[in-house]
């Protein structure tokens, strides 16, 4: 780990010596193995090994960033970046990086995960579990992740962090149109019950057997954490100050306003034990628990130092990756680990209390007509169970939730006591810890 810290500091010093005023360097060394499976057997085992340095420099208000991946040439590349920054046009909206004496609390990792040599075993257990529950066609992914990271900045940040986690995703078909999906995210290998996850997906698939065409109309919907994880992705991105600035958020001008029902307290908490725990944001500010919605009232946007300055507030330690990604602008404030505070319901009680509703296992393809107003639709997938007069009476298919996201959160009237961490593909991402939630009177549509 010291080697990574030295690497981060070295690049920082090279950039400073070349004339950069503000510098942030993040040295990253990651090793990821993935087992992909479908049709009850393993398709491919992938592994990715990367070591690189993300570098941000500012000369006055002239900003540049790069991902230094050819580390043999890191010094010359860092100097070149500063030279380019000197010639770059200034950014009037750049507000600097965080400055201070920062103390970090690095997490502890499970060394059993780092040393895991045969991840296939867990996949075979999951397949067996799903088969034992009645599924006949099973697929998914199993990831083993180990990441080491060091950060250094001209603002005083200097630290390192390490993470190790596993995540298993299992989709189990019982019939061609009857499936269940279950996931497990664990920072400790002993928390992974691969067979149990397979069984859970298989059991949900059995409950979804013989689905009939769903109906249109207003219905109460009960959302499992996996479904809610996808909704949470859209919701939490709109809490980013940069999303607000470009008009891509329904939370613009909503601080202090009601944006959800009283039941909803929504937090971003990268400090708890989870697969996305981190000690500092991408500027090197120690992470913290940020309450974003408290009892239905919007409290704060997610900020980095620069957006905080423009909004006349303080950073929430939410600076995202220095290099832009497919889904985020450079250093865009982002949630690291959203948490929806659980309620006091048992699932059985929620179902018994629902007169006419649908129970959703999972969803995908959430898309918006207009982010600033929140009109959206999403397509439930896997088990969709029909509830009448407090009982599950069958399963349905081919429906869509077509409503407004603000309305969905304002319609939440029940949250389960139990919560779980979920992460799945690009949908339920980033990892989040969520209970089961019910929203009343949501609009259900279908193809004509």
């Amino acid at each position: 780990m010291n080697e990574l810290k030295e690497l981060a500091r070295h690049v920082l010093e090279v950039a400073r010596a070349e004339g950069a005023d503000d510098v942030v360097t993040e040295a990253i060394n990651s090793s990821i193995a993935q087992v992909r499976f479908s049709n009850n057997q393993i398709d491919c085992i992938n592994s990715w090994n990367e070591k690189h340095v993300a570098l941000f420099v500012a000369v006055g208000r002239r900003i540049m960033s790069t991902d230094l991946r050819a580390l043999d040439s890191k010094d010359s590349l860092a100097r070149e970046l500063v030279a380019l920054a000197k010639k770059a046009p200034p950014s009037k909206i750049y507000g600097g990086i965080a400055k201070g004496k920062f103390k970090y609390r690095p997490g502890k990792i499970d060394k059993r995960i780092v040393g895991l040599s045969d991840p296939s075993k867990y996949v075979l257990d999951a397949i067996e579990g799903a088969e034992s529950a009645g599924a006949n066609n099973i697929g998914g992914t199993f990831y083993v992740r180990h990441g080491r990271n060091a950060i250094a900045s001209s603002g005083g940040a200097f630290g390192s962090d390490e993470s190790a986690s596993v995540d298993l995703s299992v989709r189990a078909f019982v019939q061609p149109e009857a499936s269940g999906h279950a996931v497990c995210c664990a920072a400790k290998l002993s928390d992974l019950d691969a067979r149990g996850i397979g069984e859970k997906a298989g059991e949900m698939g059995v409950r979804a057997k013989n689905p009939v065409q769903g109906e249109e109309g207003k219905m109460d919907i009960i959302m499992e954490p996996l479904f809610l994880g996808s909704v949470t992705q859209s919701t939490s991105h709109m809490m980013s100050a940069m999303s607000v600035e470009i008009g891509a958020s329904m939370y613009a001008k909503k601080i202090g306003k009601r944006v959800a029902s009283n039941e909803v307290t929504f937090v971003d908490d990268p400090t708890i034990t989870s697969t996305s725990r981190r000690s500092y944001d991408h500027e090197g500010v120690p992470t913290r628990r940020n309450v974003l919605i408290k009892d239905g009232v919007f409290k704060t946007y997610l900020h980095n130092t620069s957006t905080a300055k423009r909004f006349k507030t303080k950073t929430t330690a939410s600076a995202g990756p220095l290099i832009p990604t497919a889904n985020a602008m450079a250093a865009q404030p982002l949630p690291f680990h959203p948490v929806l505070t659980p309620g006091d319901w048992k699932l059985d009680e929620i179902i018994a209390d629902t007169k006419r509703g649908l129970y959703f296992n999972n969803t995908w393809y959430t898309r918006f007509q207009n982010y600033s107003t929140g009109e959206f639709s999403t397509i439930p997938r896997d088990a969709i169970l029909r509830i009448e007069n407090g009982e599950v009476v069958g399963s349905v298919k081919n429906i869509r939730v077509s409503d407004n996201l603000m309305n969905l959160w304002k319609s939440v009237d029940a949250l389960s006591k139990a919560a779980e961490e979920v992460y799945w593909w690009d949908e339920a991402s980033p990892p989040s810890t969520l209970p089961i939630a019910r929203a009343t009177g949501m609009n259900i549509t279908r193809s004509s």
Binding site: Q34, S38, N40, Q41, I42, D43, C44, I45, N46, S47, W48, N49, E50, K51, M64, T66, D67, R69, L81, L84, A85, K87, A88, P89, S91, I93, L124, G139, T141, V170, R171, H181, M242, E245, I246, G247, A248, I323, P324, A326, A330, A331, W364, Y365, F368, Q369, N370, Y371, S372, E375, T378, I379, R381, N398, R400, W425, D426, R446, S447, S448
Partner: protein
């Protein structure tokens, strides 16, 4: 320059294993630049170089893929060891097989009239500021403005144990826009992308100052004058952008053979299409959808796929019948056909999987005004905003961004947020006319785990759907 010695030495090690059916080594290098402005101010300037290599080992009982952002003989040896171990640990019950394909030794590249690397950051910034100014000059209240330009060149070297040696150089350039227009207390949003293979000459040809100015004027008009469509059964004329998204979502994706075989079942999903549906009816005689990676200058262009198979046009739906699936070598072998060159990978860190190139509806023989002229009561949906489709690619929804009522063959004012929610056979079965001119639009297609964003074009002519339910 990518080091051919490293590739050959690594391949030699990989091919030495007696039970190896196929070994591939791919070295890649990418130089990329990105600049963005929001509300007229510089938001981000990024410049990066990346290079690395991967090794894919195919054994009869498993496939291993290992990658690293280091290129050296020793790293290659480590990757071979890792990929072999991974492939062995898969312990597949049904044996892996790949279609037999001709070995290719070639080099190909896309030339740039105005090389991307020669356009300075200042010039790019001026270009983006020009877009911002053009939008501001319209007088519309555009409260959200974000414009991004990015470009990159990817050099690739693929070698395999069957004798293929393919070197390529592919430059791509992209402009994205985000606009949020407000008027009378309401808003309309537009997110668009223009992209191509080639140089800066593409950006100049797009003439986006005028396009974006027209776009925000249109959004304001939608707010000020647009009326909701009264739900009912009507005729619908779809512009090329809408025809294109349907071609991509409800033809291209369900015709991907890996999806049909279930390999994407837990992520992008399966397909309503089964292997025995070749020749089955899916739409009217106007339902011809082609996926063609060889369209010069298109965003989804490539000459050879990343398994070394030559690219060619694929007629997915042909005159209303399911005609040909998109294949890589593994899916082709499973279905006893040859690969049709649809195996693509985002970069060296990702395994190649079945992907589209440029997917579009075939042109017909009507003039555009003829299509509209025969509509008594309907809607022209030029473009879309919200869209989605289920994971078997059967139930889709498109909500208009720009649409107009059609009364007695004439446009009759803006229609706002017109909704088409329809099944795949109903969509393709309702087409009774297509215009002569195909227009392509660009998009990043998402598939794979981890997600691989893939450069694609989609499009078509104007198409007319008779008697569909609009909301």
């Amino acid at each position: 320059m990518l080091d051919e010695d490293v590739a050959e030495a690594t391949l030699d090690l990989a091919a030495l294993k007696a039970d190896t059916l196929l070994a591939e080594v791919r070295l890649e290098e990418r130089n990329s630049r990105q600049i963005s402005i929001r509300s007229g101010q510089v938001s981000n300037v990024t410049k990066s170089s990346d290079s690395g290599m991967n090794v894919r080992i195919v054994l009869s009982n498993g496939i291993g893929f290992s990658s690293s952002n280091r290129i050296s003989k020793s790293e290659g040896a480590r990757l071979v060891q890792e990929a072999v171990r991974q492939a062995k640990s898969a312990k597949r019950r049904s044996p892996v097989s790949f279609s037999s394909e001709r070995a290719i030794d070639t080099s190909w590249e896309v030339r740039q009239k105005r090389p991307l690397v020669e356009v300075s950051t200042d010039d790019k910034l001026e270009y983006l500021r020009g877009l911002d100014n053009a939008v501001m000059k319209t007088g519309a209240k555009v409260q959200g403005r974000y414009y991004e330009q990015r470009d990159y060149e990817t050099a690739s070297l693929l070698v395999n144990s069957e004798g293929s040696r393919i070197r390529s150089l592919l430059p791509r350039v992209v402009v994205e826009s985000y606009n949020l227009v407000s008027s009378k207390g309401e808003t309309e949003q537009s997110i668009r992308e223009w992209a191509a293979t080639g140089g800066w000459e593409n950006v100049e040809a797009w003439a986006l100052e005028g396009v974006l100015a027209d776009e925000v004027r249109m959004l304001k008009r939608q707010i000020d004058k647009g009326k909701k469509v009264k739900p009912g059964v009507k005729d619908l004329v779809c512009g090329p952008e809408v025809a294109g998204i349907a071609a991509h979502e409800s033809c291209g994706h369900p015709m991907e053979a890996d999806r049909i075989l279930g390999r994407e079942m837990s992520q992008a999903g399966k397909s309503f299409v089964s292997p025995d549906m070749i020749g089955k009816k899916i739409g009217s005689r106007y339902a011809t959808v082609i996926d063609d990676p060889t369209v010069q200058g298109s965003y989804g262009y490539y000459a050879y796929d990343q398994e070394g198979v030559k690219a060619r046009p694929r007629y997915l739906y042909k005159e209303g019948l399911i005609n040909e699936f998109l294949h890589n070598r593994e899916s082709a072998s499973r279905m006893n056909v040859q690969s049709n060159g649809a195996s693509r990978s985002e970069f060296y860190l990702r395994e190649p999987i079945v992907r589209m190139g440029n997917t579009f509806v075939a042109p017909g023989d009507f003039e555009e005004d003829e299509l509209i002229g025969s509509v008594k009561d309907g809607v022209l949906m030029h473009s879309f905003t919200e869209w989605n489709i289920d994971d078997k690619r059967f139930n889709q929804k498109y909500v208009s961004r720009e649409a107009y009522f059609v009364k007695d063959g004439e446009l009759a004012g803006p229609a706002r947020k017109c909704i088409l929610e329809i099944t795949t056979p109903a969509f393709w079965g309702a087409i009774d006319a297509a215009s002569k001119k195909v227009v392509l639009t660009s998009g990043e297609c998402g598939k794979g785990d981890p997600m691989q964003g893939m450069a694609t074009d989609m499009g078509g002519p104007m198409i007319r759907l008779r008697s569909v339910m609009l909301k």
